[in-house]
Each structure stands twice: as C-alpha cells, then as structure tokens.
Amino acid sequence: MRIALCVLAILSGCTSVRLLEIEETSLDSEGLPVLAPGHGILVVHVHTDVPIAKLQISRWTALSDLQRGEHLRLLAVDAGRYRWSGIVVSAGEGDVQFLAPYGEFSEFRVEPGRINYPGELAFSGVTGKKSVGIRPIVFRNRSGLMLRTIKERFPELVERYPPVYTGQKSDGYLEYYAEMLLTPGVAKNAGSER
C-alpha cells in the first residue's frame, strides 16, 4: 500500500485508510513536520462551488466534506504515481458519485522529500434537491497561491522540502522558485511587504 497510514489508526485497529494530514506528522523543534523516509508532501488544492462529500485519489478518500470555496490541504504520502479517481458531490437528498476523467490530466506523481503540487482542481456546477450538474473539471496551475498559503502556515517548510509541480504541463515556476532558494545570497523568508 502506497499511502501512508496514520499511526493512531493502525493502533486503534481502524480498518479504514486515510491520508495523513501534515499536522498529524511528528514535528521537529522548530514546529516543522518531519516526513518519513520515502514520503513526500502532496498538496491537494480544490476550488469548488458545489459541496463535495468526498474527493478520492487512486481509490482512497483524500478529503471529505468540502464546502463551497477554496481548500488547500497538505498530506504526507508515499512517493509514487497517483491519479484523481472520483468525486462524490453532496446533493440535497443524497450524494452523487462522479468518476474523475481518465487521461493524462488526472495523473500526477509524488516525489519523496518535496512539496508536490499537481495543480488546483476546479469544480463548478449546480446542485438541486434531487439532481446535480457538474461542468468539466478544470486543472489549473496556481503555484503562486499555493506557495503563499503554505508559507503563511509553515514559513520554513518550502526551504526544507523544495516545491515541485507534478501535474501536467509545468510552467516552470516552482522549479525556478526551488532553485532560487538554493542560490547563495537569497534571503530566505525575507519578505518585506509593507
């Protein structure tokens, strides 16, 4: 099994598998998450205007109960290849399951020791009492927003685990940013926004 298991879940005999929220990993003296060997950080970035009951990655439930809006979660997962495999949308009188589209856009990889960003999944549609309509899922590379959000939550995380775009059609930004952080003289976290 490629998805990391929650230690507590194992100890309690829980049979359901869930992805590990980054806050649940062990923290070092600086309050930064410490990844287990072979693990990478997967950024799940969702923008939705319909409530989502479940978002599945390679058959496992990555996130659940997402209300309308922007969501960005960090999960510690085994390195490897994954794909978005299903979405369950909350309708008025029950949930409706959609399969994510197959093909290259639904696939991404996770590299060990890095922040892996496969892009933002944008859902839009209309939910009624007994029906729900979803427009085609859009994949967008919002690396800038993702980095900003992570730096607000864990200011030092991107230095420890350099970010990389692992979805389709990289535009080179995260790779440039990671390389820039390695450049001598670049002030880390020297934000001077006024």
Binding site: S143, G144, R148, D171, G172, Y173, V186, A190
Partner: protein, 638 residues
C-alpha cells in the same frame, strides 16, 4: 456658400465659442472621488423632429433613462429596472430604442407628443434576436434578426410583435422572412428600400469572417470576400450611390483603414472615398435619420478624434466649429430631420463632455448637460501631443499631461494596456489628471502595436514584449527630458494590464531611469499566462506565438517575464491586483510577491478584493489614492 449662410454659421460659431470658453463653476475639489465619480449624463439622443431629448443619466447611483422636451426643463424619468444600459436611439418621433445588457436586446419607450406632458409606456422586447434596422418613416415595421437552426434570418415585422409578456420566435414565419444566411451573421446592410443586401458573418466551421451580397430581394446571395488574415476583410456600412456597390471600410493595398466603394461584380475595392496617410478610420458616421448612408468618418490625429464629413452641409459645420475651437473635440451626435437642430458633445483633455443644442435658425447654442459638472476645467491639467522617433526610427505618439504651473515636474510614465490594438488618447483621463493634480507630469505613449496608425505600425508590436515596446517608452521619456519639460532624475513608471507588465519590465531593463514602478493587474509570468489563458485551442496557441513569443521556448518566455528576472529589480515596487481578475489571474500577483519575498526586495502590495480586470469607479478611487501616495513617496526631490 451664400452670404446669409455664412452669417448664420459665423454667428452660430461665435455663440458656441462664448459658451465654450465661459469659465465653468467649481463645484468640488479635484479629488480622486470627484474625478472618478460617475458622469451625470452618459449619452443623449435627439428625436427626429428635434422636439425631444433622451438621456442616460445617473440618479441616486443608478443609471436611468430621462426624456424631456427640447424647450422644457421638466423631465420624465423612465422607471426602468434595467441594468447595464448600453446606448439609445430614436426609432421615430414616438419610439426610443434602448440597447442594454451584454446581449443585443432592445427596450422600446413610447413617448406621446400630443400633450404637454410626456406619457411614457415602457415595453420590453422579449423576442430573441437583434434589431437590424428600425426602418424610419416606414410605420410600425422594423427589420429583426433571429439566430436559430444554424441560420440567421431577418424578418420584417411590426414592432408591437416584439413586445408584450410572452417571448416569441419567428422561425416559422416564412411570410415575413426577408433574408436568410447560414451561420452567425453579425452585420446586415439594407438599401434605401429596406432590402437587406449585404452581410458580414462567420464562415461555417471556421472563425474567418465572410462578406456576402445580393443584388435584389429575389437574387441569390454571393460570397464577395473571405478573410485570409485577421482584419483584412472589408466592413460594409451602406449601399453606394450607384445602387449596386457597397461602401466599406477596408485596408486594401493601403496600410491604413480607409473608406472605399467595393464592386459587387468583382469583389474588388474601387473608388476611394476617404483615406488618411497614417491614420486608420476608427468609425463611420451614418446619416442621422435613416442611418443607411455614410456621411462621414472618424480618425484620430495627435491623440484626438477628427471628423471628416462627406456631406458638404455637415462638413461646413464641422470645419467651422473645429477651426474656431481647435482644442475641442466636437462630435455631432444628432441632427433633426429639417437640419435645424444639432446635438453636439464637446470634449477635451480638460472637459469630459458637455452637450450643446445648436439652433441654426435662432443662431443659439445652449448647454444641455455637462457630464461631470463638479469639475472645474481651470483646475485640470493640459495635455500636449508629441511625435517622437524611437531607437529604430519608428515614429510614435506621446502625450504629456503637465500639472498647472509646474516648470520641471517629476515624471510618471504610464504605458497603456493591450498591448495590441489599444491606444491612448488626449481625451479626459481621470488617473492622469489625478496624478497631475499631485504635481506629477504623466507621459502616455502609443508605442508600436497600438491601434489607429495602420497595419505596419500594428504589426511592429509583434513579439516586442519587454523589448521594442519598452524602447519606445524610453525614447519618449528621453524626448521629454531633452525638451526640458520634466525632471528626468525624478521618474517612476506605472500602468495597468500590459502597462503593469511594462512597468515591471522597465524597472528591470532600465533601472537607472526610474525611482519606483507600479503594476495594476500586470502579467508577471508569461509561461503561466500561456498555459492559463492561451493553451486551450489552436487559435490561442497561434495568437500567443505570433504576438508574444514561442510558447514552447520556456527560456525565452522567462527572459521576458518579471518573475524570472526579479533579482534585477533594484527599485521599490507596488503590486496591485484585482482578486477576481479573469484576464490576468491573481496567481501572477502571488508569483511575483513570492519571488520578491524570497529575494528580500522591497515592495508594497494592494489587493483589490472583488475587483476584476477593469476596476469599477469606486475601485479606481482606492487604487488612485494608493498609487499617488506610493509615487509621491519616491519622487521627492533627491
């Protein structure tokens, strides 16, 4: 011209001059909110007899339609719930068409002129489609087009059929079908007998525009032209005097858009009706009553619209007015059928617009309305026009707004957006005026790729992002310094959209010139811009490749992207961004901010929550205040 007519014109012009030159009362300070406040009147229209005036006005924060009699100040406001009123025009003496919203829907206001008070009946057109021709003087009939079943069809129907509670379609109404073409027709041209004879449409299965023609109502439609390259199609406006050719705006073999007759036999351009050596026609003026005859053209010279009339009557008035008031733009927007009354809107860099009603018989010119009556033109700055040679010899236009009384003010270079097919003018610009009121000169440049100067100039802007365009800005900057008009040691650069990008790239390319740079909604990362906005279709990819850069050449794209060259920025930067911008995504802002943070570069940020790519007036106020504060902080005397 007869002596009597000369006298009439002279008196009229003199009267107009007195009114135009009279000092305007100051009703408020020159604040950002005053400059960006919504004009009280946006558009006016004169009824065919000249008896009525209709206006789009702003009352209590909402746009409304107001009707009044010519000689009576009492107004009747149409209690409409319509939003986004676009424009209005009189169909006949009793009916006013109101175009609203993002789709070509019409609203008809009926005004009874039989009594002293106007009686308004408002009927909304609920039928799908758009108005082709109001058929003035033809009773209740109009030409109405409907798109359905892959065709666009024109019906000759009574206007009452368009009104009422229930929407209806005319798809099966063969009896009154007067024209039909396959595909999406977006312009129809009818002759003097209301026979639809020409059409401009998108070709089936392609995005290429086609020009179609037929000789008579019972003749077959023929394809006259198909667009080979963007913008090379002739745009038809009327049937020519000889009753079988078309009057079109086209380039033909010329570099600039001109007015021609187009032979419907050969599809070739014929007699040239008007051309300008280095200015495009940007609009045509149609006959004010029937709207089926081209009576003039509009082009822009030295940053101001110029009106050339083919009709000697209008030419006389236009020339006389323009000669007497060379700094005013005088647009004749309406003429009564008997040509006694003229509705004229006058504008200038220091006047957003004033409406005059000219009575050619009584020889009077009366101010009907001012768009922004709270502004005092004496407080507003003048704007001068310059021709400048760029580094490669290309001639470009530049406009300098200079604060009143300042000898060598600090300079703000303000490149426009686009960059392609957009231009700046010398007409009233609230941001330039606001900065000038703060003691700064503002330089606007119609750099290569700007519109209005012909195809060669337009194409000169291809693949010149972060290169030739910015060299044009530098050349204009140098020329202002050489002329001693500004203090070249105290300069900043600020712009929106492409202008924001250009400000950031200029900070990188010419750090010695500027003390600060400000970007509003400027793209900062071109590889991202390509994947986000262009990589969805072959046309998008081709456009990006032709006008910006090779989308597959990541290194070149990064070379002309501020994000990837941020380490070269050595001056303070203001990054402003609308959070709901659908054209330049918010991520451009975040990407730049992240990199500047990491590099420890000083910058200020101004996020405009809820703002789109084109900010609303209230959003402009906030941005203008923040921008001026930022600029002044860095433009203090060294």
């Amino acid at each position: 011209m007869s002596p009597d007519r000369q006298a009439t014109v002279a008196v009229l012009i003199w009267t107009a001059i007195q009114l135009l030159l009279a000092p305007l009362p100051a009703l408020g300070a020159l604040s950002a909110s005053a400059l960006y406040r919504t004009p009280v009147v946006r558009e006016m229209a004169l009824s065919p007899s000249g008896s009525y005036l209709a206006s789009i006005v702003t009352r209590r924060g909402r746009e409304r339609i107001v009707l009044r009699k010519r000689d009576d100040d009492r107004e009747v406001m149409v209690q409409t719930d319509l939003l986004l009123i676009r424009r209005l025009f009189w169909i006949d003496e009793k009916r006013l068409a109101v175009l609203f919203g993002g789709v070509p829907m019409y609203h008809v206001v009926t005004a009874s002129n039989a009594v002293d008070e106007l009686v308004i009946r408002e009927d909304r057109v609920r039928a799908r489609g758009y108005l082709v021709d109001p058929l003035p003087n033809m009773g209740e009939e109009v030409l109405w087009a409907v798109r359905a079943g892959g065709n666009t069809s024109v019906y000759r129907i009574e206007i009452s059929e368009l009104l009422g509670e229930r929407a209806r379609t005319f798809a099966d109404d063969e009896g009154r079908l007067v024209a039909q073409l396959e595909g999406n027709v977006y312009r129809w041209v009818a002759d003097g007998s209301a026979v639809v004879r020409a059409a401009l449409k998108l070709g089936r299965g392609s995005k290429k525009t086609e020009l179609w023609y037929r000789a008579a109502v019972d003749a077959e439609w023929r394809l006259l032209q198909r667009e080979a390259e963007p913008e090379d199609i002739a745009h038809p406006f009327a049937i020519a005097e000889n009753e079988h050719d078309l009057v079109v705006a086209a380039r033909g073999e010329r570099d600039t858009f001109a007015l021609f007759e187009l032979s419907t036999e050969t599809g070739e351009l014929g007699r040239e009706l008007f051309s300008h050596p280095d200015a495009d026609i940007i609009d045509v003026i149609l006959d004010h009553s029937a709207r089926r005859e081209v009576i003039g053209v509009v082009y822009e010279e030295d940053g101001l619209p110029q009106f050339h009339h083919l009709d000697s009557f209008f030419d006389l008035y236009q020339r006389s007015l323009s000669h007497a008031l060379p700094d005013m733009v005088l647009r004749i927007t309406g003429v009564s059928r008997d040509r006694r009354y003229f509705l004229v809107v006058a504008g200038s860099p220091r006047d957003p617009g004033t409406y005059y009603l000219l009575d050619t018989r009584a020889k009077t010119a009366t101010v009907i309305a001012r768009q922004m009556p709270w502004l005092d033109s004496a407080e507003l700055a003048s704007v001068d026009s310059f021709r400048v040679k760029s580094t490669d010899g290309l001639e470009i236009e530049a406009f300098l707004t200079r604060p009143n009384g300042a000898r060598k003010p600090p300079l703000v270079v303000m490149p426009h957006g686009g960059p392609r097919n957009v231009r700046d003018s010398r007409l009233f610009n609230p941001l330039a005026q606001f900065l000038a009121a703060g003691g700064m000169a503002v330089l606007q440049v119609n750099y290569r790729g700007s519109s209005g100067r012909g195809k060669a100039f337009l194409d000169a802007g291809k693949r010149e992002w972060g290169a030739g365009i910015e060299e044009d800005l530098d050349a204009a900057f140098d020329e202002m310094v050489r002329r001693g008009l500004v203090d070249g040691d105290r300069a900043c650069i600020a712009g929106g959209s492409y202008g924001g990008y250009s400000a950031l790239m200029s900070a990188i390319r010419s750090p010695e010139r500027y003390l600060c740079a400000a970007s509003l909604n400027g793209p900062t990362d071109l590889p991202f811009a390509f994947h986000f906005g262009f990589d969805w279709s072959d046309e998008g990819r081709e456009y990006f490749d032709e006008y910006i850069a090779d989308p597959d050449d990541l290194e070149s794209l990064q070379t002309i992207s501020p994000v990837y060259r941020a380490s070269e920025i050595r001056i303070p930067v203001l990054l402003a961004q609308g959070t709901e911008d659908r054209i330049v995504d918010l991520d451009h802002y975040y990407r730049m901010a992240n990199v500047l943070d990491a590099l420890g570069k000083p910058y200020e940020s101004y996020l405009m929550y809820g703002a789109r790519h084109s900010p609303k007036r209230s959003e402009w106020v906030g941005f203008a205040l923040r921008l001026r504060k930022f600029l002044l902080a860095h433009l203090q005397s060294p």
